[in-house]
Each structure stands twice: as C-alpha cells, then as structure tokens.
Amino acid sequence: MATREEIAEALAGMTLFADLAMPQLLGVAGRFEEAFFAEGSRVLRQGLTGSAFYVILDGEAAVLVDAVQRATLGRGEFFGEVSTLLGEPPTADVVAVRPLRCVVLPGSEVESFLIDHPKVTYRMLQAQSRRLRNANRARG
C-alpha cells in the first residue's frame, strides 16, 4: 500500500462505497489519507477534541469505553463518525489489536464529504441503523 489507485480498488470492495464508480473512488482516495497503526497503538482517544473519521482497510481494532472492550472492528468497517458529526470528543478509545491500516478524513471535512457523496451517506445511515437495531435487541 498504497497508491491512490490501490486505495480506490480497496474501497471499491466495501459496502460503504459500493455505489461509487472508479473516477469517484479515485477522488475519494485522494481526499482521504492512509494511516498505519502498530499493534497496541491508540487510534482514537476518548475525550480528546479534533478527531477524525476512519475506514479500516486491513487489520483489527478494539473499541474501549473507560478501558472496557465493547466491540471489535475489521476491514470495511468505520469509526469516529459519531464524534465528527456531533462535534464532540469521542466517547471511546479505539486501539489497534493487530497492525491496522485505515484511510482517514479529518473531522472538519466529513460534512462536505457526505454532502458531496449522498450514496455514501445513505450506506452510512444503513450501517448506523443496523448498529442501533442490534444495540436495542441486546438491550431488550
């Protein structure tokens, strides 16, 4: 990894970006930046301002609230969107449990990105709805 073309290819296989054609995916790949996190390193920090939106290209991450693990995330999954959409610090730590490759969009660019790509917004809303449904089921 990874040239813009390789990133676009990787995104093409993800549900979140399933409705975009290659020229648009190349645009998306140019707008996000790739990042690598060694095993054990923190990606998102609970309570710290100025965070970003992440989509996992490869690897695995754990979501921890007050140091208690709540979920794991893998390829094609995303995190950080809640804090960037609400303009609040993240309410969880996200830690790489295996070497983790992501693409990252700064929080300040998430709004314009989602407005420019309504199909991605729709897919994100679907994923969020699934998370909410599962959380409600778990609670019920």
Binding site: M1, L26, E33, A35, F36, A38, T49, G50, P106
Partner: protein
Amino acid sequence: MADPVRPYPPGTYPVIVIGSGPGGLQIAYELRRRGIDHAVLSADHGPGGMFRRWPFFQRLLSWTKPYAEAERNSRAFERWDWNSLIATEPELRGMQTEFMDGSSDFPSRPEMEASLAAFAERAGIQVRQDCRWESTRRDDTAQGPRFTLTTSDGIYVCTHLILAVGIAEPFSPPTPGIEHAVHYADTRPAETYAGKRLFIIGKQNSGFELASGLLQWASRITLASPSRARTSIETHSLVGVRARYVQPFEDSAMGGGVDILSASVDGISRVEGGLRVDLKRSDNGMPVSVDADEVIAATGFTCPLQDLPDLGVATFGQARLPAQTAFWESATVPGIHFGGTITSGASGLKKHGIPGYSGAVQGHRYNGRILVERLAQEHFGVAIERPAIALADLANHVLAEATNAPELWHQKAYLASVVSVSADAGIRDDGIVPLTHFLDTSGPDAIAMTIEADGEGAIFPVAYIRRGGAVEEHALEPHPLLAFEGTPYRRQIGALLDLIAPGASAS
C-alpha cells in the same frame, strides 16, 4: 587502504546516520553534542540534501524573518525562522539570516544550500560524502538488533541506524502512456517551455510551483488530479497549496489560460502534433480530452528505503513513509530510526486535520534533537538535565512556553512542553516531548502545554493535565494578538496548575 581525508571509514559504530540534508546534519550535530560515537554517510557530493537541487524555480516556500521581534541567536527567534538548523552556540543560531540578500523573506535555494553548508562547517560536522548505502542485513544478537550496511565504500555495522534520506525518489502512477510524461524531478529550464501547451498531472505544491513558474512561458497550462485542490488559505494551515503558488488559481478564475480540473487521467497517447491526455471528470464520470505538447507528472516522491521493507519495516501511503513510534523509531523494526522529512510518518494526532510540520525543516529539526536525547538516555547512559522549577515560577514558565516556545508553534498539537510534579523529584522541566508519548504513557502528575489550531483560523494554547494517571484536555481561549501571558490566562492556567501543584495560582 583508508583514505586519510574522508571521515568515518568502514567499520563498526554504535550509531550510523545516512543523509546529509538538514535532517542528517541536525542529528549529527545533536549526536556530537551528547557525546555519542557515530558515523554520517551520504551519497551526495556535499551537504544540503534536496536544497542542492530543489525547488526548481530557486526560491523556497519557507520563510525567515531577519528583523522579527526576538534576538537572532535566541531560542525565541526560531519561531520566526523556518530554515536555520538549531544549536546551543550563539554563532550557530539563526544562521539563515546571514545568507539572505533582502530581496525576499523566502530565501533562495542557493542561500539555503549555503547556510546548511556553513552550519556543517562552523559546527565541525563531518560527513563521509559520495558513500552510497546499497543494502542492509539485520542480525538479532543477545545485545539487540545489529545492522550491517553494504555501501559503495565497504561494510558498516551499527546497533542504531538513523535514516535521513528524504522523501526523494520520484513517483509516477501506473497510468497507461505515462512514459510520454516526464516527472517533476526532470523538469527543464523554464524558457524551454516557451509557447508550449503544458499538461501537469497533480495539484499539490509541486504542480502549482511549476504552473506558477511557467505562467509567462507556456501558451496554456492544464492541471488535473481526481480531488479538488485546496489552498493553505482555505485550510488555515500548511495543508494544501501554499500561498506562494496561488496565481494559477486566479488565472483560472479569470479564464486566463490556466485550467484546473478535478478528473482522473485514463491515459496519455501520442497524436499528430503532440500528446493527448484522456480524462474522466470526478463529479460525473464524463470523458474529457486535452491536447498538449508536454506532460509533466507532478505526482510526488517516495522514501528511498532500499531493502528495509524486506527487513520488516512497515510503510504506508503513496510516499511509502515508514510507520513510526512517537520517537521516530520504526513501529515494526526496533533499532531503525528516522530523521528529516521522513519523520512526517509519525503523524501524531492530526487534530482538526492539521499535521505537525515534520515534512519541513522548521518541524523536523526539533524531532532530530528529541530523537537523539531519547537515544542518549535509553541506550547510552547520558542523563538529560531536567531543571527544577520553583512553585512561584511555575505559571510564568508554562505561559512563557505557550507564548514563545518555537517547538510548540512549529509542531502544533505534536510537540508539548512538559512539567512534572512528584513527591521525590519536586517540580521539574521535562522539556519538549511528543504529545502522543505524553498521552499514551503513564507517569507522575504533570502538565503538557501545546499550541493548537482549529483549522478555522483560531490558534490557542492547550493544557493537558495528568493527575492520578488520567489525562484531561483544557483548551485556553484564543487571543487576537496571540499573546497568552495576560491576567485571564494567568488565572485560568493557575487554576489548572493548582490541581497538580497546589499553590501555583498564588504566585
């Protein structure tokens, strides 16, 4: 037989530095200052690194303000000087000012090169020039990893390898017909583009540098890449195209012979009378074609890490930057460290999308100093002084750092000025450390001061208070004149300091 004139003959050294650009020179200076035995090797014929060649149009995009409100040989002056290397001796400080002719606050390329060479000479930094690193072997010994380097001059062995080789390898994407394009690195003198229709692939600084420099020569200029170009004025940071290169945007807006396209290049082909570039628009996927006489790929550079990925050094991004710890060591191969522009691979928090400025001298010169301090402490038994601070001076110290510390201003939300408080050691100035290190390690109660920006134009100090092992972030108010030493700041910082050093607010 050893050449008596050239330093550092092949052999075994505790530390080997590769590179003689600003990154390598700063690290060599710091190693000598800390008394750590080392060798410096460089494939170049003289010191200066990229500034021996670039930028093409012979003027930097980083300034030095000789008449700024600070003594030229003071630490505070470094905030106003993006180009000089840093040192403790007065005659080695703010040296770029000696090499500027008054025509611009952006030094010319030869002025920068001359200043770096003079620093090396005045500081007595030795480099084995014309010595090319060719391959690397890693052996794990009882004492830790050991690296064996094959070079054009012979075999070198070390336990700590520091690579400051720049992001210097031209990169072109695998676009069909890319062989019809030349890379930015092979751009010819400006006048040879007179009357040509020029197509530039890429809308980063290098693309706009070429466009700006060729506005008066080319008959037409087209720039294209899939994403929209942003300027540093929009991002309120050094992210995006720098203000020095915005003229093509204005020309484009006026219909003045410059086109800036958001489109991906499908291919380049030879047609009668020149070249044709076939593109697809990013917004709607529709095809567009542009005829040109010359195509230049301003598509960036990668790290010339040779065979290090085979040794397990993980890299990322188009520049193939090595993934790094907070102290610029390979995240995957201990013992391999990085200096100079490559340290931008340790990206820090990038709060609000704003990175540290490790990709430029004003940022990475501090990384180099901190890297050597860390090595000195961890591996060479050198104690780094941690001066005591009186309780009555604590608030003053912290606010003075927020106002003047050049490390904090050049490496926003990346480097922090730390003071710790503990029962046995008292109040200690822990100096400048990477913010992520402070946040991700435990330690005594402490305050880490940073300067941060929100990406919308505000710049403000942030205090991270560590108390009982937990860290809380406290942003101070922005100030229209960036003066953070007045009463409201004193009151706010005093209340925060009282949490870890009771009585600090009373001073």
